[in-house]
Amino acid sequence: MKAFKYLSPTTVEEAIAFHGQHSETAKYMGGGTDVIVKVKEGWMEPDFLISLKKIKEMSELHKNAATGELSIGTIGGNLINAVPSADGAIPLIALDGVALLHGPEGERSVAVKDLFVSPYKTILKPMEILKKITIPPQAPHTGSAYIKFGRRAAMELPLIGIGILLSLDEIQGICTKARICLGVAAPTPMRAFDAEKLLKGKKIGEALLIEAGKIAADESKVRDSVRGKAWHRKEMIRVHVKRMGIKCLELINAGH
């Protein structure tokens, strides 16, 4: 592996300052499971590796009941790596997660869904750090479900990822909010807006979820890859949009 100098700042400001000093030759590292592989393979050749592990405000995982705030550990690394599978992104998009980015010019907030530009590329500017992800509180009678569907659990990226969130009106059970998020279905994580529109304002049952699954499959931009064929991915979107939707309804009925 290429030699580098290892830096471990304890604050975001210090990390940005380190990066500023060595701009072109420095890289940030979260847990390292992506970055170390890239350095080993020669896809990344940093002279300085800036570990974010010792930054306390980033490594703390805490949930604030009022704001539903969730600080990030290495889920940030999963997001920033921006692979089309983006396991971590799909549930966060379904939950309307907001990313707080911190760079030399200060902080800015961006919806997690808008972080991704193309495979392996995010909107982060050089030196910017994904510092925190905030999940807004959800309305009562909300259910959410996620499936990472693949052939096996280990050593595998998902064939397709589906995250759904449904909020129902308390009295009539009318859908007030629907999120249908798909991973590995397009170059970046995506929302199936047409399928969401179909559900909103209606009383949701199995027939409607089957229809939503079909629309979501049509909206997707799946393709053939070594892991699976496009037609199979579409089928799995159809099936799992329905299943996850039913799971949401079950969770709502169970009072979660």
Partner: protein
């Protein structure tokens, strides 16, 4: 870019000069001569390099040696007693056919140990989950799960008896 780190390795305090780009796996195998920990894929997929760092099973091929500073690390070499008696998990893998070629075994055993240290009564699903990051191309896994289950009682009985 050399720096000195110290950590607890299988109960012994180690102080060693390292290069900042070395992985923990490199330090263990090439510098300290502990070749029980294997390098399989080198990319964090196969689990052959699993060691226990501060009670968690970790792929040492993706873990920088410099980050081991101040940590408590266990490798396969630390499991058998100084008299040469195998750890219950090791004995169980031998007795129950959990080993064929043996390459994945140190990683399998370290992942299993991390699980049983935390949850001695883990069920089959939990064992499968704990070993999901360890690949074996020989046994088909069933014997490995059975080996872990067969060791559970002994591991639980030993717990607290052995100082760690």
């Amino acid at each position: 870019m050399t720096t000195n780190i110290s950590f607890l390795l299988n109960g012994d305090t180690i102080s060693h000069d390292i290069k900042e780009h070395w992985t923990l796996l490199y330090l263990l195998r090439e510098e300290l001569g502990l070749i029980g920990t294997k390098e399989g894929c080198g990319n964090g997929e196969c689990g052959a390099c699993t060691v226990i760092i501060d009670k968690l099973a970790v792929n040492s091929c993706l873990y920088l040696a410099i980050e081991a500073d101040g940590k408590i690390i266990e490798t396969i070499e630390g499991l058998a007693s100084t008299e040469g008696n195998l750890h219950p998990l090791q004995q169980s893998f031998v007795d129950n056919g959990g080993i064929q070629c043996g390459f994945c075994t140190p990683g399998m055993i370290m992942s299993s140990k991390a699980l049983l240290d935390e949850k001695p009564d883990a069920d089959r699903e939990e064992i499968k989950h704990a070993l999901a990051g360890n690949i074996c191309r020989c046994t088909g896994y069933i014997q490995i799960f059975e080996s872990v289950e067969a060791a559970q009682e002994k591991v639980a009985a030993n717990k607290g008896g052995k100082d760690e």
